[in-house]
Symmetry: C2
Subunit: 351 residues, 2 copies
């Protein structure tokens, strides 16, 4: 069940003060008396805070995110349409939705807000933070809370958003901007830029998969085997474009891709490599060999620079989305690491 | 200088008869008396038939495409806005441009049309056909003219357009379709869907480059070093989007990407691998290790299956566009192969 909390005031990295910041979140399990059995899950670009919906294979009793031992928390990031403050929220100053005028937050800001949420819960220490993609960016920012966070599991992510990934973000935004219904984000809620958002999602879907995954799944087959019909892969992309349009908002999409582009652990902290070397936590870095977006070289870099990190490589052909598709394999990796590195430090195990 | 020829009638693969097909082309060098010193160059998606413009480093006296010895021909493909029959041409039946109604040709069709052009020249034999990307698709279709073509140099291409590449094509088309000015291709020439076409080009530009090339060139720098300004990579993409809009047409773009999607040497010829094994020509297959679009596995496959092929791998970081960027290295590869394999068979060397 989605719950909400309000952060009374938060000063963003850029100095802007956000007031009454609504955060939607879900939790599983029970916070222990010592308040240190917390697992923070970061969700990705279009995911909801309902981890059971998209990571059901690793969440639950006896699983990597073991709800009998851990208190698992996932907060919806600011900018996402799933309950937290977003472009869809009403701006108290105007009485209308923020739309394109919501102040832009950074990955660091959303983690700072989540920290205040954990403070409201009375959390003393996070056992580990875990997430892929945008979720992985949050995990790396959690590392800079030092002893408050014991372990981190960044998946399919680098220490900063690469110009390659920024380019994919920008092409997607431009597809949205090309839709005449966009109107600089001031579109009528009844006439949103659905074609542009669908095209953006199609670009994204390609980048989340891989050459071999499409080859195995679709080949050059046409829909219904009719040569006049679209290729199956075209139909697949259109279907995914339409599906996103039904559950997402274009301003939120633009906002969140810009948020991801801000990701840079070194911002304001020093030289990039030195800043990564400061991450003292036990870390399991998960890379995906077929990831064309956050290439394996990025996770190799993280694991090389972070002093207490080990690298696990998933060899599946699915591309970036492997962390959402191969949940059994991912769960095994995380559980093994957790049992060796995190569980022994857990003071009180909740019944 | 661009010249034009007209093919009186041509029956497309799908049975449609095209009449008075205008082909724009350029040539360099002189056709020998034995009419067998011909090099056919296939151009890529948005290139012109002016090879000196985009492959000037490998065209000319003493170069891989040695204009003192060879008669080099490049014909603009049907559908392209650079002089051949295209959506911009006037439909004699209506007196207005074809727009989206030009019958769709295939890669095989455009090579068949080029064959008739060579027949008009009196060409007896092609020494070799060379090209990258869409040009490489044409090269592979030339192979099925048997003894008429002595050698082939396909670059950055596979034997059929993969679903991965079709997906990139489709995402680009959808960005164009998202532009309200598109009007199903029946747009006013004064108000074309420029935003959609620019977004399509941005998607394409990403796919033509690579993660490391963007990382080295742009890093996370902002324009003018101002953190409020766009990232340099965003500005670069927008610039390329705008540049294409100034020189290309949206209907042509949609048409040519669909044309590329038809590429499949096995279509109507038999089983894919067996069909590639039929290619008896001497072949130099050039692959690019950093190519994310036509991955090296595709060129490895071509070289493995084609009985007289050798594989050359370019290790540069530029991605697919390496064949347009590293012209000196490419020229060396081609020249070495040509001198060993093609030149000795050349009967008459033109002064």
């Amino acid at each position: 069940m989605v719950k909400t909390a309000t952060i009374p005031a938060y000063t963003l990295e850029n100095g802007t003060i956000l007031r009454n910041v609504r955060l939607a979140y879900q939790t599983w399990g029970v916070l222990s008396k010592t308040a240190d059995n917390v697992v923070v899950v970061g969700h990705s670009l279009t995911s909801t805070p309902d981890v059971s919906d998209w990571w059901g294979g690793i969440l639950g009793p006896g699983r990597a995110l073991d709800t009998t031992r851990y208190f698992v928390v996932c907060a919806n990031v600011v900018g996402s349409p799933y309950g937290s403050l977003s472009p869809l929220s009403i701006d108290p100053d105007t009485g209308r939705p923020y739309g394109p005028d919501l102040p832009q937050v950074t990955v660091r800001d959303i983690v700072g807000l989540q920290k205040l949420l954990l403070d409201q819960f009375g959390v003393r220490q996070v056992a580990f933070a875990i997430g892929g993609s945008l979720g992985g960016m949050q995990v790396l920012e959690w590392a800079y809370y030092g002893g408050f966070v014991r372990g981190i599991v960044p998946i399919g992510v680098g220490g900063r958003h690469s110009p390659w990934c920024i380019a994919f973000s920008e092409a997607q935004r431009q597809a949205i901007f090309a839709d005449a219904a966009w109107h600089e984000g001031r579109y009528d809620a009844a006439h949103p830029p659905v074609a542009g958002l669908a095209a953006a999602r199609m670009i994204a879907m390609i980048s989340y998969r891989s050459f071999p995954s499409f080859a195995h799944r679709f080949g050059r087959a046409h829909v219904n085997g009719m040569s006049e019909a679209p290729y199956q892969v075209e139909s697949y992309l259109r279907h995914h474009g339409q599906k996103l349009v039904d559950r997402f908002d274009a301003n939120c999409y633009v906002y969140l891709t810009r948020l991801m582009d801000t990701h840079d652990v070194a911002q304001g902290r020093g030289a990039y490599e030195a800043v990564l070397r400061e991450i003292a936590q036990e870390a399991l870095v998960v890379g995906i060999r077929s990831d064309v977006l956050y290439t394996l070289a990025e996770q190799e870099e993280l694991a090389r620079l972070m002093p207490n990190a080990r690298l696990a490589v998933m060899d599946d052909d699915h591309g970036h989305d492997t962390f959402l598709i191969e949940q059994e394999a991912l769960g095994d990796l995380v559980k093994r690491w957790r049992k060796e590195v995190i569980d022994p430090q857990l003071m009180v195990v909740q019944a």
